[in-house]
């Protein structure tokens, strides 16, 4: 039997909350102790209070969340879909995989301005940027997961004259789920980056757009609040993915990459 260090859930949650609280406290101490000017680093209280300033927090958070979630959803659908196609049609995989690898090397953030040139700016564009940055890791890990089947297991089901569909639905697909989730976890960070890049380059709404607006007035507290809200949207998405993984993947099968 393998030894598992899981700890108890209460302890884990205490650690999560405690570490974050500690960071906020250090932040507070630093601002107080070094008397940092508030336009360089706003205190935690000031940052929090900026929520009550006259900024359209809710609308902009909603826009950014839609960009991130929309782009991410597309990335999962297209990434997994293409990987399935690769596994069904080996020629397609042989032809396309080298291309996918080189595309993965392209600094996708640099594609942002091009995409905006091609399809105007706005919410849909930022969804597409978020998607284009985040779908490749999903595609690559899913394709790998669909390929990783024990040869002896294939022999076992071959003696039973399993159809290709049976092999796919009973062995390949469930076997690739841990890989799909590992790709999906990597993709969360990229989807957030993609949406923000789009907003920074050109937009009229969203949290990164708001950062650009308040920067002019040196409202550092509000800028920091916007960064925190973007982070929270990303964390929310990540938690959803973790919960889905918990539901669909047996503990022992999970692949840890992040």
């Amino acid at each position: 039997m393998r030894l598992r260090i899981t700890g108890d859930a209460a302890l884990r949650w205490t650690a999560i909350v405690g570490v974050h609280a500690a960071v906020v406290f250090l932040w507070y101490l630093a601002v107080e102790y070094w008397e940092i000017p508030k336009f360089i680093l706003a205190s935690p209280q000031a940052t929090f209070m900026s929520l009550f300033d006259d900024y359209p927090w809710f609308d902009n958070t909603l826009v950014t969340a839609m960009e991130i979630f929309g782009g991410y959803f597309l990335a999962v659908v297209v990434g997994v879909g293409l990987a399935l196609m690769f596994s069904w049609f080996r020629t397609v995989e042989t032809l396309m995989m080298p291309l996918v690898i080189s595309l993965n090397m392209v600094p996708k953030v640099a594609l942002g301005p091009l995409i905006i040139v091609w399809i105007d700016y706005g919410l849909q564009t930022n969804i597409i940027i978020a998607f284009s940055i985040s779908f490749l890791p999903i595609l690559i890990t899913t394709a790998r997961g669909l390929r990783e089947v024990e040869p002896d297991l294939i022999d076992l089901v071959k003696t039973l004259r399993a159809t290709r569909w049976q092999v796919f639905i009973k062995i390949q697909l469930p076997g690739s789920l841990p890989y799909i989730f590992s790709g999906m976890k990597v993709a969360v960070v990229l989807a957030v980056a993609g949406a923000i890049v789009g907003e920074i380059i050109a937009s009229e709404e969203g949290l990164a757009y708001l950062i650009g607006q308040v920067q002019v007035t040196l409202d550092t507290a509000a800028m920091m609040m916007a960064v925190i809200l973007i982070t929270l949207v990303g964390v929310a998405l990540y938690l959803i993915v973790l919960i889905l993984e918990r539901v669909f993947v047996v503990r022992d099968a999970r692949v840890e990459t992040v």
């Binding site: 039997m1 393998r2 024990e150 002896d152 297991l153 022999d155 076992l156 089901v157 071959k158 003696t159 039973l160 004259r161 399993a162 049976q166 009973k170 062995i171 469930p174 076997g175 789920l177 993947v249 047996v250 503990r251 022992d252 099968a253």
Partner: protein
Amino acid sequence: MTVDAATQGEPFIRLNGIKKIFRSRRQEFLAVSDATFDVHEGDLVSLVGPSGCGKTTLLKIIAGLYTFEDGTMEVGGAGSDFDPARDVGMVFQQPLLLKWRRVLENVILPAEILGLPMRAARDRARDLLDMVGLAGHEQKYPYELSGGMQQRAAIARSLVHDPKLILMDEPFGALDALTRERMNLELLRIWEQSRKTILFVTHGIAEAVFLGTKVVVLTAGPARMADRIDIDLPQPRTLDMKTQEQFGAYTRRIYQLLGME
């Protein structure tokens, strides 16, 4: 070795001069040459030999996974309705359980693939898990079982569609020595209870003699069949037989055949 046919009637498996060559673009590799032996219904035949002697290849030929060049193979006896899909169960060195399925769901996999009635398959799977000593573990995931227990589940899985022939490819090779001894006894009990014909590949000479009603000895490259030895030890086998002179005589003979003495 014509004694078999005379005393026991039609063999269940009859291999005659089987030869298998693997061809790659540049070279040929003779994996099996002139494999000739019979297996009777209800036999437990051990195939023993060093690594790379073609034991696994031979097993896969019998399972219908590989074609062969020369020779003839009859499985199931003359005029039988032997269907390799329904009538062969397989056990490998690794348990190869699906990590995401509970033990019971793993055991019914062959029945699922063959499209057998599921309710009956489930009942049978429960009985088999009971037989291999895994009663009460039906709803566990493979990672919750030890290596020996996982291999027991794999044996139950190989039996779930009630095949006539079980092919085992070094099933206990990955287990520690003590677990392996215990699994040998378990296998003999399961064999006795299920009355299946078993072909058991191993590179353990003592294991081959202890388990087998017959031992087929294969030598390494060029892969050849050295001999077939009937093991005349009483059934049921017990561990103290391993210390008997007759047992030693058999293992010594196999060591000689393999050129190790």
